[in-house]
C-alpha cells in the first residue's frame, strides 16, 4: 500500500488515471480466504443490491447489443416517404406510450420500458448535460418535422409524466421496488421545465398534424393522450392553483383517447430496428442487474383507462360533505380492488395537503376534532366547555395539543388506506402502538376533566369519556383489520384459524360494547333536548322560560342534527360490527366441529422440536401483547375457550345438530343485517333511513364489499350444510380418512375463508 501511495505521489497532478493493476494483484495474492474487507455499513441489504463485474447476471456492461442497436442513429429520419415517416413515428409513439403502462402496471423498471427508447435516452441525456428550461438542449435534428417536432413532443410529454410520477413517489406514500421503480439511470427528467413549456410544444405538434398530416389520426390521438398524462401534474396539490373539478377534463381526455386507441387496428409498421434497446443499461451508470426490455402485451390502453378512472375516483373525495364521508371514502376506495399505483400515491397527498389543510376545507386540528364530533363528542359537557371557554384557557390549549397528536395518528390511518395490500396490514401493526399510547394519554386527560365536573354520566356509575371512546373505537377497528387481513394474505395456517377468529370475536365484542356506550349517550342527549321542549310547554312566561327556549333553540339548531346523524352512523357501525362478530363466531364453530371429530387441532406440535405451541402462540400475538385494553387473553384462556365450543360425547349427534341450528340462525341474522346495510347504501343519505353509512361517494365499492360479505354468509351456510351431511350421525371417531381444505368461495370476502372437510 505504501508503494502505491509513493507512486501516486510521484505522479504529476495532470494525470487523471493511475494504473493500480499490479499493486492490486499483488495485494490480492496475499489475501487469505478468511479475510474480508468491507465497510461497516455494508449489510445484507447492500450485499443483495451489489453488482459484480464479469458476472453475466449482474454486469450490464456484458450485455450484447445487435448491429441495429449499435448503429441506431436518433438524428436520422427513418422512412422513405412522408407517409412512411409518419408510420414509423406512430409506431415509436405507440410503443413508447404502451411502455409507460408496462412500467407502472407490470411493476417494471424504467430502463426496461420507457428509457429503452433510444430517443428518450438521447434527448434526456442531452438535457441532463445542460438542463435548460426552454428545452433548447432537448431536440432531435433529423431534418424532418414529424421527428423533430412531433416525436419530440411525444418524448417530452412522456418524460414529463415520469417526472410527475417521481414527484408522487418522493412524497413517500408508495414504496420503491415493491410499488414502483423510479430509477431514471441518473437522467434528469425535465426537472427545470414548466408544464406549460411542454404542453405548448405538444399543442404546436397537434396543430402541425392537423394542418399538414390529416391522416395521422392515430399519432394525434397518442400525442393527445401523452399530453393529458403530463397534465396530471396539475392534480398534485403542492402546485395546485385550480380546483380539482377544472382538472377532471384532463383525465376525461385521457380516457377518451385511450378508448379510441384501443379500438384501432394494430399498426403494420414496426418501430425502426434498434429504436428500443436495453443498451441504456450498458451505456449509462446502472446500479441494477441487466434485464431484457419488456415488450408490451396489448392491453396497455385499457390500463390507461383504469389508471385515469382510479385517479378520478380519488378526486371525488373533494365532494365529501362530512368527515364520516371522507373516512368511509378512505376505508372503501382501495378495498375490493387494489387501485392503480398512481392513484394510491396521489390519494393521501390530495387529501392531506402540504399547507396543513384537508381538501382545502379543514385544518388538521379541525379535521381531527370533527372525527370526535361526528361520533361521540357532540352534545357532551366537554363540547360545551370547549365552546364557552376562551381560546387561551388551559382546557382549550390542552385539547388543541391533543388534536395535534390525534392528527399525527390519523395521518397514518389515512395514508395506510391507500397502501398495497401487504403494507396495509403492516401499517396497522405500527399504528396500534400509536392508538394505544394515545388512548392512555387521552384517558388521563379526561379523568382530570371529570374531577373538574366535566363529565357525561351513562348510568350505573359509568361515564362516557368521549375522546377516549373514539380513540378506543379506532384502535379496536385497527386491531380487527390487522387480524382479518391476515386471512386474505394467507398468513395463517388452518390450525391457527380458531385462535384468530376467536380473538376477532373477542375484539368485536369489545367494539360492540363501546359502540353501545356511544349509542346510550346519544339517546340520552336527544331525550334531554326533547324534554326541554316538554318543559317549555309547562313553564309560565318569564325569564326562566326565555332562557330555556333560547337553550332549546340552540340545541335544536346546533346539536340535534348532528346527534341524530351520529346516532344513525353509530347504528350502522353496530350492524357492521355484528356482522364481523357473527362471521367470526361461525368460523369458530366450524373449527370446533372439525376438531371434535379429530380432523384438526389448534396447536401445531411440529414446533415442539425447537420451540413450543405456547411460544409460537405468543409470537403470533406479539402485536397485541403490549396493548393495555382490551387485555390479551392468556394462552390458557385461548386453549380453554375452545372446549366450550367443542362437541363431546355423550349425545354427540344431538349436540352437533344444535350447533348446526345455532349457526344457521346466526347466519340468517347476519344476512338480514347485510340486506339492511346494503339498502341504506343504495338509498344514500335519505333522511328517513335508520342508518347513515357515509358511503355516497364510494357507493359501488361499499355495495361490492357487502355483496362479498353476503357471498361469505352463503358460503358459510353451505359449508355448514356440508359438514352436517358429512358428519350426520356418524361416530366422531370415524373421520381418520378425512383432511381439511381451505377454500374461498368465488366473490366472497377474503376475510372469511372456509374450512372444508375432504376425503384424503
Amino acid at each position: 500500500m505504501a508503494s502505491l501511495e509513493d507512486n501516486i505521489g510521484a505522479l504529476s497532478i495532470s494525470d487523471k488515471l493511475v494504473d493500480v493493476t499490479n499493486h492490486l494483484k499483488t495485494l490480492a495474492r496475499h489475501l487469505q480466504s478468511e479475510s474480508i474487507i468491507k465497510a461497516p455499513q455494508f449489510d445484507l441489504f447492500e450485499g443483495t443490491h451489489s453488482l459484480e463485474i464479469n458476472n453475466t447476471k449482474l454486469d450490464s456492461s456484458l450485455l450484447k447489443l445487435s448491429v441495429d442497436e449499435l448503429n441506431f442513429d436518433c438524428q436520422t429520419s427513418y422512412g422513405e416517404s412522408d407517409e412512411e415517416k409518419v408510420a414509423f413515428v406512430t409506431a415509436i409513439a405507440d410503443r413508447l406510450c404502451r411502455s409507460i403502462m408496462v412500467w407502472l402496471n407490470d411493476y417494471q423498471t424504467l430502463p426496461t420500458t420507457v428509457l429503452s427508447c433510444r430517443y428518450v435516452e438521447d434527448m434526456m441525456y442531452s438535457f441532463t448535460e445542460d438542463p435548460t428550461s426552454d428545452l433548447s438542449t432537448c431536440r432531435l435534428k433529423t431534418g424532418h418535422e414529424i421527428y423533430d417536432q412531433v416525436l419530440v413532443s411525444c418524448i417530452l410529454t412522456t418524460c414529463y409524466f415520469v417526472k410527475v410520477v417521481q414527484t408522487l413517489f418522493k412524497a413517500g406514500v408508495v414504496f420503491e421496488e415493491e410499488d414502483l421503480n423510479c430509477n431514471t439511470m441518473g437522467l434528469n427528467m425535465l426537472s427545470t421545465v414548466a408544464l406549460t413549456t411542454v404542453t405548448s410544444h405538444a399543442e404546436n405538434s397537434l396543430k402541425l398534424l392537423r394542418n399538414k398530416y390529416p391522416n395521422a389520426h392515430q399519432l394525434a390521438l397518442i400525442l393527445q393522450l401523452l399530453d393529458s398524462l403530463a397534465r396530471i401534474h396539475d392534480l398534485i396539490p403542492v402546485d395546485q392553483t385550480d380546483s380539482a373539478a377544472d382538472n377532471r377534463g384532463t383525465l376525461e381526455v385521457l380516457i377518451r383517447c385511450a378508448k379510441q386507441l384501443k379500438e384501432l387496428p394494430a399498426t403494420t409498421i414496426k418501430v425502426p430496428n434498434g429504436s428500443f434497446s436495453p443498451g441504456i443499461q450498458k451505456r449509462l451508470s446502472n446500479q441494477f442487474p441487466p434485464r431484457a426490455i419488456v415488450e408490451p402485451r396489448g392491453n396497455e390502453y385499457d390500463a390507461f383507462i383504469t389508471m385515469a378512472e382510479d385517479i378520478l375516483k380519488v378526486l371525488e373525495v373533494d365532494a365529501a360533505n362530512s368527515v364520516v364521508e371522507i373516512n368511509q371514502f378512505a376505508f372503501f376506495f382501495n378495498r375490493s380492488r387494489q387501485r392503480h399505483v398512481v392513484a394510491r400515491a396521489l390519494f393521501p397527498l390530495y387529501l392531506m395537503r402540504d399547507d396543513q389543510m384537508i381538501l382545502d376545507k379543514f385544518t388538521f386540528n379541525d379535521f381531527s376534532k370533527q372525527h370526535f364530533m361526528e361520533f361521540s363528542l357532540c352534545g357532551t359537557q366537554l363540547a360545551t366547555s370547549l365552546r364557552i371557554q376562551p381560546q387561551d384557557s388551559p382546557l382549550v390549549v390542552k385539547f388543541e395539543s391533543f388534536m395535534q397528536e390525534v392528527s399525527a395518528v390519523l395521518f397514518e390511518w389515512y395514508q395506510n388506506a391507500s397502501q398495497n395490500t401487504c403494507r396495509y396490514r403492516q401499517g396497522y401493526n405500527r399504528q396500534l402502538l400509536l392508538w394505544d399510547s394515545l388512548q392512555a394519554q387521552i384517558e388521563v386527560f379526561e379523568m382530570e376533566l371529570e374531577s373538574q365536573g366535566i363529565k357525561d354520566e351513562l348510568g350505573e356509575e359509568s361515564t362516557l369519556l368521549p375522546l377516549t371512546t373514539w380513540v378506543y373505537f379506532m384502535k379496536l377497528t385497527a386491531m380487527m383489520e390487522f387480524v382479518l387481513k391476515g386471512f386474505e394474505l394467507d398468513v395463517y395456517k388452518p390450525w391457527e384459524f380458531y385462535t384468530m377468529y376467536w380473538y376477532s370475536y373477542y375484539l368485536a365484542q369489545h367494539l360492540e360494547n363501546n359502540l353501545q356506550r356511544v349509542q346510550r349517550h346519544l339517546e340520552q342527549r336527544i331525550a334531554v333536548i326533547q324534554a326541554m321542549n316538554k318543559k317549555l310547554k309547562k313553564l309560565k312566561a318569564g325569564a326562566k322560560k326565555d332562557s330555556l327556549r333560547s337553550s332549546y333553540r340552540w340545541c335544536m339548531d346546533h346539536e340535534m342534527p348532528q346527534l341524530r346523524s351520529n346516532f344513525k352512523y353509530v347504528e350502522y357501525l353496530l350492524k357492521k360490527c355484528t356482522l364481523s362478530k357473527t362471521l367470526a363466531l361461525v368460523e369458530v364453530f366450524h373449527f370446533a366441529i372439525i376438531k371434535s371429530i379429530g380432523v384438526i387441532d389448534n396447536r401445531d406440535l411440529s414446533s415442539s422440536r425447537f420451540s413450543s405451541p405456547e411460544l409460537v402462540h405468543k409470537l403470533r400475538f406479539k402485536t397485541f401483547s403490549s396493548i393495555g385494553i382490551p387485555e390479551l387473553p392468556s394462552y390458557s384462556a385461548f386453549q380453554n375457550s375452545l372446549n366450550e365450543f367443542m362437541i363431546q360425547e355423550p349425545m354427540f349427534t344431538v349436540k352437533f345438530q344444535r350447533s348446526v341450528e345455532f349457526i344457521q340462525s346466526e347466519l340468517a341474522k347476519a344476512k338480514a343485517a347485510v340486506d339492511f346495510i346494503s339498502n341504506a347504501i343504495r338509498q344514500g343519505e335519505d333522511k328517513d333511513h335508520e342508518l347513515i353509512t357515509g358511503t355516497h361517494l364510494v357507493k359501488d365499492q361499499a355495495l361490492e364489499y357487502y355483496e362479498s360479505i353476503l357471498k361469505s354468509i352463503e358460503a358459510l351456510k353451505s359449508n355448514t350444510n356440508s359438514l352436517h351431511d358429512q358428519i350426520g350421525s356418524k361416530s366422531p371417531n370415524s373421520f381418520t380418512s378425512y383432511k381439511i381444505r381451505v377454500q374461498t368461495a368465488p366473490q366472497a370476502c377474503s376475510y372469511y375463508p372456509l374450512l372444508t372437510l375432504q376425503k384424503k
Binding site: E34, P289, T421, C422, L489, K618, L619, T623, S626
Partner: protein
C-alpha cells in the same frame, strides 16, 4: 444413501465456489460474490454442507447468519438453502436446516427468521414443519415480482415481545 454434514471450511476457496454453484443453480435471485462473502466470511460456523458418502463435492448447503436485531434480540437468519436436483426429497434440506437451527439455539439466538416465496410450497412445508409461522406477507418482494412470506421460529420469550418494549423495560408493563 449415506450423507455427511459439516461446517464450511472458510480457508478453502473451493468451498465458496461450491456454495455459489449450488445456490446459483437454484435461486431466482442473482447474488454477487459479495453476498456469499458477506455470509460465509462473517458466519462460517453457520454454513453447513452436505456430502454424499466420501465425495468432496457438496450436494447441498445452508447459509445463515446471526445478529442482534434492533439491539433487542439475537436473531438467526437463514439466507440460502439449496440441494442439488438429483438429491432432493431425501430429507437433506431438512437436516441442513435442523443442524443450523441447533447451532443457533446453542449460541443463544432468540428466534430464527427467513423469507420465502409465497409460491414455494416445498420450502413453506419444510419450515412450517419445523415450527416456523408466517409473520407477514411482503408485496412483490422478489425480482420475479412474487410476494414473500416472512417466517419466524421463536426460540425464547424475547422473540414474542415487541422490540420497543425490550429496549425500554420500564415501559413493559405500561
Amino acid at each position: 444413501m449415506d450423507v455427511r454434514y459439516r461446517q464450511l471450511n472458510i480457508s478453502d476457496n473451493n468451498e465458496l465456489r461450491h456454495v455459489q454453484r449450488l445456490i446459483d443453480a437454484d435461486l431466482s435471485e442473482p447474488y454477487s460474490v459479495y453476498v456469499y462473502r458477506y455470509f460465509l466470511n462473517q458466519w462460517p460456523e453457520l454454513c453447513y454442507l452436505a456430502f454424499k458418502g466420501d465425495d468432496t463435492t457438496p450436494i447441498g448447503c445452508v447459509v445463515c447468519k446471526s445478529e442482534q436485531h434492533r439491539g433487542a434480540r439475537l436473531r438467526g437468519y437463514i439466507g440460502m438453502l439449496a440441494v442439488a436436483k438429483e438429491h432432493r426429497k431425501k430429507g437433506i434440506a431438512k437436516r441442513l436446516v435442523t443442524i443450523a437451527i441447533e447451532h443457533m439455539q446453542k449460541t443463544g439466538c432468540d428466534e430464527v427468521m427467513l423469507e420465502t416465496e409465497v409460491e414455494n410450497v416445498a420450502a413453506l412445508r419444510l419450515y412450517e414443519g419445523l415450527g416456523f409461522i408466517r409473520l407477514k406477507r411482503m408485496f412483490r418482494y422478489y425480482l420475479n415480482q412474487g410476494d414473500a412470506f416472512k417466517l419466524i421460529l421463536p426460540l425464547t420469550e424475547r422473540s414474542c415481545t415487541r422490540s420497543t418494549f425490550l429496549l425500554q423495560p420500564e415501559t413493559e408493563l405500561a
